[in-house]
Amino acid sequence: MSTIVLLLITGLGLGALYFLVASGLSLIYGLMGVLNFAHGSFLTLGAFAGWELARRMGGESWGTLIASLLLGMVVGALAAAATEFFLIRRLYNRHIEQVLVTVGLALATVALFDGIWGTDAIYVTAPSWLSQTTEILGARVPNDRFLLIGAAVLVLIGIVAFLRYTRFGLVIRAGVENRSMVTALGIDVRKAFTVVFAIGGAAAGLGGVLASHYFGYVSPQLGGSLLIFAFIVTVIGGLGSLSGAAIASVAVAILQQFANYFWGGTGDLMVVLLLAVVLLVRPTGIMGKKA
């Protein structure tokens, strides 16, 4: 019983990380049709920014942790908005070229991070509470899982509230539904593009700082490894669907944890198998629009 509780909560924590990456990917794809390969770099950049801050201020205090989370968000958002403004916008409506540009950006930035921070993993320090455990139903659950889950839930609520109750959110939702109609009504959708990129980047940057605490280290490869699972999550959840991404993140992460524990480390393979099954049964994903 205690093992199952532990696996469930760890799975939820990992799922929270996947969601932080996948939510941005899914929103960006839904509105603009851009598959953003550079999303992992926003995450890595956020993680390094958080670590640099923690290194200067002393990593053990709660204030530093909160400040580093905020800094990660800001850095991720700025990087993403700049990417949209300088690269993606120039290739408006040329989806393959947009993907290619983000691929090039991902290659270049990972190499740049290698050059600046080195290829080795750098260990992070955190408030001591995070490395302790809490007992739930007999399971000793590491506390960082709760931080991850809490942050992901806040981000989910935040994005949903933003989409539902603000004018920009309205434009974005309408744009996902039918972009040419929104443009025809005289609304400049391109501003919404930058905003969506910034939101996605902020979520990824936040995810980066959290991931560095979950795994215990930062490295230039951090984003790339999470990005692949985020891609799978987005396809399973249905491209462009936020709720689909949330459900799929949790499902994928929990499946991964259980398969790793009970079937001898086959978690990654099980996830790919799940993807194959979903595609066979529902090619558009769980919550995807009918193609």
């Binding site: 794809y29 049709g33 598959l35 690269l87 120039r90 290739l91 989806h95 393959i96 070229e97 993907v99 290619l100 540009v101 691929v103 090039g104 950006l105 991902a106 290659l107 270049a108 930035t109 990972v110 190499a111 740049l112 290698d114 050059g115 600046i116 790339g224 692949i228 891609f231 799978i232 987005t234 396809v235 491209l239 480390g265 990654d268 393979l269 996830v271 790919v272 993807l275 194959a276 595609l279 066979l280 090619p283």
Partner: protein
């Protein structure tokens, strides 16, 4: 002036034949190009690099068939390269088969895998297809890393030379491997050209432009797309096998998503949709990669201030930036730029004529 693009199909084949003949006698000549090649063309080190360039050209051609001709953006092409390399390596290590039967067995496995995974991934199109192929390739990557007894894990797999003919082994015989790589490039080129000019090739090109219209005409795009996928995968696996012989082994990097992205970068740099572009891209990429690595370690870079030194000492940063610039400012890559230089305008003669008629 007669422009480059007006040359007939036959002239191009003759030019190609002359180039191949020249490449074939290179190991017997003493040509040095300082700054591009590490030494004279008959030395094993240079031949190794040139053979690698030819292999990347072949691999780029196989990807051109997938992406340029059929319009399928795959992020898992490295899987089939790796399947060839690891498949042959494992068969040679675990069984008593000699090289040719081992090749045949590996090919059979590759065809089965490509058929199975291809028919599954082709259920979706566009971006979803890209992600699904990425996921399968990632599964391959995990399998390779997790089974060290069979694949050598992170260390990579070393070529078991017991059943490999002697003329492919040893530094002295690098030129035999070079000729093998050249022969493979010719084979791949002929197969790709043949497929593109076949009925299936025309159908697949039509599907790339407008799948719905092809359906309306009563054709089934799925079959020809799968055919293109399997042919491209088999060609990639052949390149993988020769790569295994050339490098005397293979590493998990061959299965990584980065490796597929490298192939994609090569094809886009060379020019999407152009067979010659893919070949030129493969050769330039290999030489550039080698030169940039040498440049990164040179004293000239080490003396620069940090803000210049760090980016310039990362070959991938320069390549990535170059790639972005090509996508932004040079649509059609090197081949497209050459064509524009040849015709002297930004439009092809046909497009220009259409524009004039429209006015």
């Amino acid at each position: 002036m007669k422009s480059l693009t007006n040359l007939s199909q036959r002239t191009w084949w003759i030019v190609g034949g002359v180039l191949v003949a020249f490449a074939a006698v290179l190991p017997l000549l003493n040509i040095s190009i300082p700054g591009v090649l590490p030494g004279a063309t008959y030395t094993p080190g240079t031949l190794q690099l040139l053979a690698l360039a030819l292999l990347f050209a072949s691999l780029a051609l196989s990807y051109h068939l997938l992406f340029g001709t059929a319009g399928m953006l795959s992020f898992g092409h490295a899987l089939y390269f790796a399947l060839g390399a690891y498949g042959l390596g494992i068969v040679l290590q675990q069984t008593e088969l000699t090289l040719i039967p081992a090749l045949g067995l590996t090919l059979a496995v590759v065809i089965a895998a490509a058929y199975l995974l291809g028919s599954l991934s082709l259920r979706v199109t566009g971006i979803s297809f890209a992600m699904v192929t990425l996921a399968f390739a990632q599964a391959g990557n995990v399998l390779v890393r997790r089974n060290p007894t069979l694949t050598g894990g992170e260390e990579g797999l070393r070529l078991d030379t017991e059943h490999v003919p002697d003329f492919f082994i040893g530094v002295v015989n690098t030129r035999n491997l070079y000729w093998l790589a050249l022969a493979l490039l010719v084979v791949v080129f002929v197969v790709v050209a043949w497929f593109e000019n076949s009925r299936a090739g025309h159908a697949v090109t039509a599907t790339r432009e407008n799948e719905l219209r092809v359906r309306v005409l009563g054709l089934r795009p799925f079959g020809v797309k799968l055919m293109a996928f399997v042919i491209a995968s088999v060609l990639a696996s052949l390149v993988g096998m020769v790569h295994l012989l050339l490098q005397s082994g293979t590493t998990p990097r061959a299965t990584s998503a980065d490796f597929t992205l490298t192939i994609l970068v090569i094809v886009v740099l060379g020019g999407v949709g152009s067979r010659w572009g893919a070949i030129i891209g493969g050769i330039i990429y290999t030489l550039l990669d080698q030169r940039l690595t040498a440049l990164a370690g040179s004293d000239a870079i080490a003396d620069l201030p940090a803000i210049l030194r760090i980016p310039l000492s990362e070959p991938l940063f320069i390549l990535g930036t170059l790639f972005i610039l090509v996508v932004l400012f040079l649509p059609g890559g090197i081949a497209g730029a050459a064509r524009r230089l040849g015709t002297g305008t930004n439009a092809t003669p046909l497009a220009r004529k259409q524009l004039e008629e429209a006015e």
